[in-house]
């Protein structure tokens, strides 16, 4: 029997996969950051699923993982802010991607 929690658990798995895909393959930092946030959301939902399943003792859900999610969301926001500041600064310095080609190796070509 599939319950509400399970449905969202599958949703979380999906979000993780989608987020990871974007994080791995998107060439620009901003898109990576967005993908990271999707990935993070998926992870948080997984905690939410555990919480929902753990509802007991008069609580509709286990408050401990929910509190962890709140902490997690704030940390993720802080990461996003730092990453955004970095990528904006990176643009100011004239680069647009995080792939480096060391100057001394530039001639043998990054394919």
């Amino acid at each position: 029997m599939i319950g509400t929690a399970t449905v969202y658990g599958l949703c979380a798995s999906g979000l993780v996969a989608i987020g990871l895909y974007g994080l791995v393959l998107h060439p620009t930092p901003l898109r990576k950051v967005i993908a990271f946030n999707l990935l993070g959301s998926g992870t948080f939902v997984l905690f939410g699923v555990a919480a929902r399943r753990g509802g007991a003792a008069g609580f509709l859900a286990d408050p401990v993982p929910q509190a962890m999610v709140i902490t997690g969301i704030v940390v993720a926001f802080a990461s996003t802010a730092l990453a955004v500041a970095l990528l904006l600064r990176l643009q100011e310095t004239g680069a647009s991607s995080i792939e480096t080609t060391p100057p001394e190796q530039q001639d043998n070509g990054a394919s």
Binding site: Y21, T28, A56, A61, I70
Partner: protein, 310 residues
């Protein structure tokens, strides 16, 4: 109870997520992400997590969305979002991501019986503190260390963002948040909304002790109001060297630390509260934290200083 609405919501979330990743234009991607955030708030409600839903809406969707939109606006527009990786690599990535998702899904589909939970323990100890909202109790009592450290992380993130200030601008103000096409509506909104917003924010903080709501949500609403004012160009972002600003940033952590250390004398040690005063202490800490969060969030969105100090 039917699963249909849940399935529909999940489908929507996943569709929006795929669109967010797949769409070419980055502004569209940010919009997509905000949509995902809002849909996720609904999902959190369905997971019986109203507090998380509020936080997700306020920070996950709201503040993060704003941050990303602002980044979009400041990034130089580029015609193509750059070359796509080799198809083989894309297929490989899809396979690997699916494998990880499959692993997670498999575990989700095999729930343990009885469900693992700390709810009974959490409930058993709640009475000691006289607070009604278990999340607040977890955040500010049981796992107060996590919360404290996470506030410090926010301060660090702010320092990290400020690090990126060019040396000549150090101490100055961040770039103006003025919306690109400043409209009368926005100005009007910025004049009308803040008083209401501030009331809501304060209510959320105060209310958080017993009902859903709390520091972050309240703090975020306050931050949102401030940002609105700045975006409508009614106020410029403050200079980062300002003493008052610095003090507001650290107010929350300092009050929390003081409360924590006070525990050594008035209770059983660090971060423990005497039962009689637990609620007032927690509310004071929450209020201070909310204020700091509002300022930090606002300054994080505003970014590093971009003007020399006056």
């Amino acid at each position: 109870m039917t699963l249909l609405p849940d399935l529909a919501l999940v489908l929507l979330i996943l569709t929006a997520a795929v669109w967010t990743v797949a769409v070419r234009d980055r502004r569209d991607a940010v919009i997509g992400f905000i949509v995902v955030g809002l849909l996720l708030s609904l999902a959190w409600v369905r997971l019986n997590a109203v507090d998380v839903a509020l936080t997700e809406a306020a920070i996950g969707g709201g503040a993060t969305g704003l941050l990303l939109l602002r980044a979009c606006a400041r990034l130089v527009p580029r015609p193509a979002e750059s070359v796509l990786p080799h198809p083989a690599m894309r297929i490989l990535t899809v396979l690997l991501c699916s494998a990880i998702a499959a692993g997670l899904a498999a575990i989700v589909l095999m729930p343990v019986e009885p469900p693992a939970t700390l709810a009974p323990e959490a409930a058993a100890s709640m009475g000691e503190l006289g607070l009604g909202n278990p999340i607040t109790v977890v955040l500010l009592a049981y796992r107060a260390l996590d919360t404290l450290l996470e506030k410090v992380v926010l301060v660090l993130a702010l320092i990290g963002v400020w690090t990126l200030t060019p040396d000549q601008f150090w101490g100055g103000a961040p770039a103006s948040l003025r919306a690109q096409q400043s409209s009368g509506a926005l100005t009007l909104l910025a004049q009308v909304l803040p008083p209401v917003g501030v009331v809501i924010g304060v209510y959320l903080i105060w209310n958080g002790a017993d009902h859903p709501g709390g520091t972050f949500q309240g703090g975020t609403v306050l931050a949102a109001m401030w940002l609105l004012v700045m975006m409508a160009d009614l106020r410029e972002p403050p200079e980062i060297r300002l003493h008052s600003l610095r003090l507001l940033v650290i107010l929350g952590p300092v009050v929390f630390l003081v409360a924590g250390f006070a525990g050594f004398w008035i209770a059983n040690g660090f971060l423990s509260y005497p039962p009689a005063f637990a609620k007032p202490i927690i509310v004071i800490v929450e209020a201070a934290l909310a204020l700091s969060i509002a300022v930090i969030l606002g300054m994080l969105v505003a970014g590093p200083a971009a003007r020399a100090p006056r």
